[in-house]
Amino acid sequence: MLIYIARKALILLVTLAMASLAIFVTLEILPGDPALLILGIEAQDDTLAALRAQVGLDRPPTVRYLAWIGGLVSGTSGISHTYAVPVFELIGERLVVTIPLALMALVTSTLLAVPMGMLAAVRRGRWGDFGVMGFSQIGMAIPNFWFGIMAILVFAVVLGWFPAAGFPGWEAGFGVALWALVLPALSLALPEAAILARVARASVLETLGADYVRTAHAKGLTRQRVLWGHVLRNALIPMTTILGLQFAFLLAGSIVIESVFSLPGLGRLIFQAVSQRDLVVVRDVVMLLVAFVVVINFLVDIAYGVIDPRARRAG
């Protein structure tokens, strides 16, 4: 087991190192001069040079790469070229929007998907199943940003129940802030729920056929108790795995939804930072997202290793 974990940890480190290199090289060859963007069309050459020196862009690439990695490891933040504040601070300010949004989407999609998946499994081949699977197909086909646009049209423009866009900030009141996240969270949750409902249906079907469920039935437990007690608990294991991975992708996948609703989240930050060539910000945000995915994958692998000894050999 220790060897297995060590191997997985090594893979984790190698993946992170390769990713950091890929990020750095990509940003290095990205066309566009950050100094020119900051100072605009009337800027003089000496002013541009002064600015580049000020933010350290005049140092050789290897020095900047090592300084970046050193900073990440020791926890010292770079300074954003445009905002002139530490990047970690900037990321922190955005995470207070993006993480609650992703969590809300995750909870909503789970609350929608689990009952639907169970219903479909129990009613396999009948109308309930048909309805759920139909919903799932439609949910997967509708682009989430279009759902968001339509939700704005209906619930904000026509009915006026929700703000059309923007985020008032948590200090505007918890309820007000949360309210502004409802439509975006729903837009994110819909396709997730559609996928998750299928996973839920499949895993419930699988557990329904398992020996211990038959035994439970044989013991005379009521159908409901078997379903909610045994089946759901076991079906939750594969679903939690999927949920973990979904969460990582919700963080990044919210870029489009954050654009639709003009939310000041992580996705907007990376989008704006790329167009402003604030590369110090871009590389840290991308690295954070990558690290998130990789670490979750690592944890999932470890969990599987614990549950299923065969996984340790398979690699």
């Binding site: 066309p31 566009g32 001069d33 950050p34 020119l36 963007l37 900051i38 100072l39 605009g40 069309i41 009337e42 800027a43 003089q44 000496d46 002013t47 002064a50 600015l51 020196a53 000020q54 445009t82 905002y83 002139a84 504040v85 900037l90 300010e93 955005r94 929007v97 809300m104 909870v107 609350l111 704005i152 904000a156 423009v157 006026g160 929700f162 703000p163 059309a164 866009a165 923007g166 985020f167 008032p168 900030g169 200090e171 009141g173 918890f174 309820g175 007000v176 802030a177 949360l178 309210w179 409802v182 608990r233 003009s262 000041p264 989240g265 907007r268 930050l269 167009s275 402003q276 060539r277």
Partner: protein
């Protein structure tokens, strides 16, 4: 499992509470909430070109020796009065007394010297360093008097000193102005919620507006919804003209169609064959239909221009008839120039005015036999390829600097126009101070670039402001990049 249930219950409860708290949001009458499109990258107007910086802090937080008023005229600000020597080389400014910076330090001549020397220094990162190019020395002759000596006469010095890039900063706070600006204006910086808003509070306890908030809403439809919901009181420049339509019939709002200094032009690379042939450029001029562009891209908001000059300026001459829309004439000119199957690229920067008019221009030029390939670019690429790299055929951009026809006299400016006749006119202009004579020279200058069809002159950008009825003192026009709220009050 129980934890999961508990968590779910909490979230559901929160959603319900959110539902009940959601709508109530009344405006008290001494606060002001303004929706703006772009968030400033930082708040130091002396260290960046972004218009959003000036819009937030110019005149409100930071002040210069002079200021530009709503009509584009020069007014005294931190300089109470000034005298100019007969040769135009020495300016003596008498400073306003009893002015303090927001951190409590007093404003004196030494601050002016510091600010201007900082902007002119070798390691300066001032985006408009050229504004100070004529300055030889800046001296404090006494704590309330500053003497600025020039190396050559500069007719626009007093105007230049009214720019946001020339505001007066204190040595104690200059280094941290980007994140916590300290100026002498009637509002002081309170806080900045990144990605969402900047808050300013009044210095004077009896000011009509005690708290002013700039909220960043990149999406015009969000600004419209926020205005209607009362979340914001004003939007000073809706970058989607169609959004204005929603307010024109609404009695609760005032719609202000004002002017800007933005000449929106189809820039042509004048040295690239066959665009170096004036007949080809005239064909392009005949090929574009300004009315269709203004209607289609700007929903009718915008004034056609025939040269690189703002229609509201006293020296303006209407030259839109120089090359009227005439596809047949355009084709004839192309044939005369021996150009067949002309294919060009049109690089479009991100703003909606550029992308939209670009699509229409491409369709219009197709009508006269010019194939236009649209290449959308980010600002970073535009600056590098078009503005600095000379790598373009056509582009669309709005030139927002006030009175900037002088760019046509610059060597190696991005559209590569080179006319000795025009340069001579600008040289005479710089040496002329009589207003009538200056206007006459400006008229000649306008005519030369129009006749040479240097660029496709399309329209002057309109400033589309919408605010709640009862809000007085908002600027209708934008002679400088500013949202000056120092004279705003509720009635």
């Amino acid at each position: 499992m129980n934890k999961l249930l508990l968590g779910t219950a909490v979230v559901v409860f929160l959603m319900i509470t959110g539902l009940t708290v959601g709508s109530a949001n009344a405006q008290s009458k001494n606060s002001l909430m303004i929706g703006v499109t772009l968030e400033p990258p930082h708040l130091d107007p002396t260290a960046g070109a972004a218009a959003a910086i000036d819009e937030t802090v110019y005149a409100n937080v930071f002040e210069g020796l002079t200021r530009i008023d709503q009509n584009g005229a020069i007014q005294p600000q931190l300089a109470e009065s000034w005298t100019v020597s007969d040769d135009g080389l020495v300016y003596t400014f008498n400073l306003k007394r009893d002015v303090t910076f927001h951190d409590g330090t007093s404003f004196e001549a030494s601050d002016v010297v510091f600010s201007f020397d900082r902007a002119r220094a070798g390691d300066s990162v001032n985006a408009q360093k050229a504004l100070f190019a004529a300055i030889e020395t800046v001296e404090a002759t006494d704590p309330m008097t500053v003497k600025v000596t020039l190396s050559r006469p500069e007719g626009s010095l007093l105007f230049n000193l009214g720019w946001g890039d020339a505001v007066i900063v204190a040595p104690e706070s200059a280094a941290t102005n980007k994140t916590s600006p300290v100026g002498t204006g009637p509002f002081k910086f309170s806080r900045w919620v990144k990605g969402d808003r900047v808050e300013l509070v009044a210095v004077a306890p009896d000011a009509p507006i005690q708290k002013a908030t700039f909220r960043f809403m990149s999406d015009p439809s969000a600004q419209v919804a926020a205005l209607k919901a009362g979340d914001i009181d004003a939007a000073t420049n809706l970058n989607a003209p169609e959004a204005v339509l929603a307010f024109q019939a609404d009695r609760n709002f005032e719609v202000a169609i004002g002017t800007t200094e933005g000449e929106t032009i189809l820039s042509i690379n004048n040295t690239r064959a066959p665009l170096d042939d004036v007949r080809v450029r005239r064909a392009i001029a005949h090929g574009i239909d300004r009315k269709a562009i203004i209607d289609g891209a700007m929903f009718g908001f915008g004034t056609p221009i025939g040269s690189h000059f703002a229609p509201h300026h006293p020296a303006y001459v209407d030259l839109t008839g120089t090359y009227p829309h005439d596809p047949a004439k355009a084709r004839a000119l192309l044939a005369e120039a021996g150009v067949t199957d002309l294919a060009v690229t049109l690089k479009l920067p991100p703003p909606a005015y550029a992308r939209r008019s670009g699509e229409i221009v491409a369709a219009q030029l197709k009508e006269v036999g010019i194939t236009v390939e649209i290449v959308p670019v980010e600002w970073a690429q535009w600056l590098e390829q078009v503005f600095r790299g000379d790598d373009f055929d056509l582009t669309i951009v709005s030139h927002t600097e006030p009175l900037d026809i002088g760019i046509y006299a610059r060597d190696k400016y991005y559209f590569n126009y080179d006319s000795p006749a025009f340069k001579a006119v600008i040289k005479r202009l710089n040496a002329t101070s009589d207003p009538a004579a200056r206007n006459a020279l400006l008229a000649v200058a306008q005519d030369i670039v129009a006749v040479d069809a240097v660029n496709g002159f399309m329209f002057q950008l309109a400033r589309l402001g919408v605010w709640r009825k009862g809000l007085k003192g908002m600027w209708r026009n934008a002679p400088v990049q500013a949202i000056d709220i120092t004279g705003v009050r509720w009635e």
